[in-house]
Symmetry: C2
Subunit: 341 residues, 2 copies
Amino acid sequence: MAQITLQDLAYELNISVSTVSKALKGYPDVSEKTRKLVIELADKLNFSPNVVASNLRTQHTKIIGVIVPTIVHHFFSNVIGGIINEAEKNGYMVILLQSNEDFEMEKKQLNLLVQQQVDGILISLTVETKNFEHLERIQQRGIPLVMYDKVAKAIDCSKVIIDDKKASYDAVSYLIRKGYKRIAYFGGSMVALNFSNRFLGYKQALEEYRIPFDDSLVYICDTSDEYNDGYNNASELIKKHGIIGVDAAFAVTDVIAVGITKYFNTHNISIPKDVAVFGFSNWFMSSVVTPPLSTVNQPGYEMGKKSIEILLKEIAQSKDKKEIVHERIVLPTTLEIRQST
Amino acid sequence: MAQITLQDLAYELNISVSTVSKALKGYPDVSEKTRKLVIELADKLNFSPNVVASNLRTQHTKIIGVIVPTIVHHFFSNVIGGIINEAEKNGYMVILLQSNEDFEMEKKQLNLLVQQQVDGILISLTVETKNFEHLERIQQRGIPLVMYDKVAKAIDCSKVIIDDKKASYDAVSYLIRKGYKRIAYFGGSMVALNFSNRFLGYKQALEEYRIPFDDSLVYICDTSDEYNDGYNNASELIKKHGIIGVDAAFAVTDVIAVGITKYFNTHNISIPKDVAVFGFSNWFMSSVVTPPLSTVNQPGYEMGKKSIEILLKEIAQSKDKKEIVHERIVLPTTLEIRQST
DNA sequence: TTGTAGGCGTTATCAC
DNA sequence: GTGATAACGCCTACAA
């Protein structure tokens, strides 16, 4: 079934293609009568404009590219939801790509997006990303770029993040103020900036409240199997310190915290009486485990929404050749206190 | 920063545009020497072909459109993951749209995808979708269309689904064989085909094992607040039947089941001793609640993967003008038996 | 082996 | 108010 084009309409009505085009786009300089005629026929024939032709002509695609480390992830799927909803409201569509935390993939995908002539790019970096030439190349091309969640300091562009250090500082301070003194830390690979910042927040809180930092309370979990690693490390923790050597555990993700919870629950360690547990992210799950988990509320949807808002603004600015000023948005996190602390 | 084009390369090398094009695309009829020259220069200048121009010319975009009811949903984000991974492996990109269970949105989005000249469309229908003209129009246009999860019988296209009726029949049969006789049903709106099928499976199992169907054991939960509605309906259930009038609850989603679990846990009703609980979907969460939930394993990733495999096949067939034969894939579900039953 | 030329469907400029 | 014409950047017969 051949697509029907402006030409077909023009031919049918015995007018020129340009008039048809103008009529359809509501240009003022076409008579009411012909406009009606055109629109009627277009409707009747179910005309659907070919946007790739239009894109070629107008030099923009109304498509934005989004790269995300992993889609199947409560936080990121929220981000994506925020991005897509907001994009659509503004007449943009989203091409979604998943880097799987693979640096080479990230580079390749950025190229694909460039070739696709996307109007802008939203990216959360992989953990591996230490070299930023591919990102610089995007900027040299003049394609607006906004980073979210996992960002690169070295690149001068708008960024939307949370303050990981502060968030974990807040959580740990809360624990301390509640009277907990021996607070274990369950982290993820320090290679990831987010995680190392959360560690910094942990240490800062200890310091500020003059609680000695104890290396033996720090456990690093494998991020690819957080639940079981949380469980196993909780077991290690208790083996080493017993129930009296530790009174709280701060985990850097909810899944780790849930693993810890599981271990405690199955080994007659009462939460929070024997040991309190604090998570990070506020996944739905954290509200339904027993006991419900105190956690850091990480605003994924807002992060997506804000990111694309900024991107869209920069796209507009760059089209108008206005100077674009980069923003750095730090979204507030809050503590969701439940029964585990 | 102006994009660099084939013309620029041609000019620079003093050869024709078509030779450059051929060289870049590895055509056999260009000399080794010029090919090298071209590729070198392209690399040096960081040339990136404009695929929208190419798309216009070749009449395909290597983009497929995906419409999903909701992104922030464990099952669907798995589906999306499967789609995107498989698409990328085959050189396709994905435009992701979210219908939010809104029929008008669905129609509009389908139009957007048509205008965008996507090579194919993957869709899971909204609950509201009772009229299928918009889908027929897609097919009239000759755009390959595959439906997954929520499909329309009336439309003749490939479909990838699970057998909801059988899955719930299996679950309930399992309960019966385990000795449970008073099995409550916690469903979702019967307007949704998936849910009404699950209800049918429930009834079929009862029938087959000659257990009388009892209306008062059926509870319909509000799908927009499953957790609380599961909780509240569990309360209703116990209010009406007490602990002796019911010995199991089959819920049509894991979230409902978790709500039920919560109610039982907080009201000293022992799972599974007093009442067993069975869920549906096998979200991660179901494995970490207390007690771990028996549930139906619903293969989201595979559904996405299979859907796009079929779509890609049909795209190829339609390009080759081969006759395309529609498939109907019913992905197997399994029972994940844990400690709640 | 290389080049010429036409066209994909739309939009924008400029004449009429 | 309308229409002719020239791009946008690439691909591909076909010709040289």
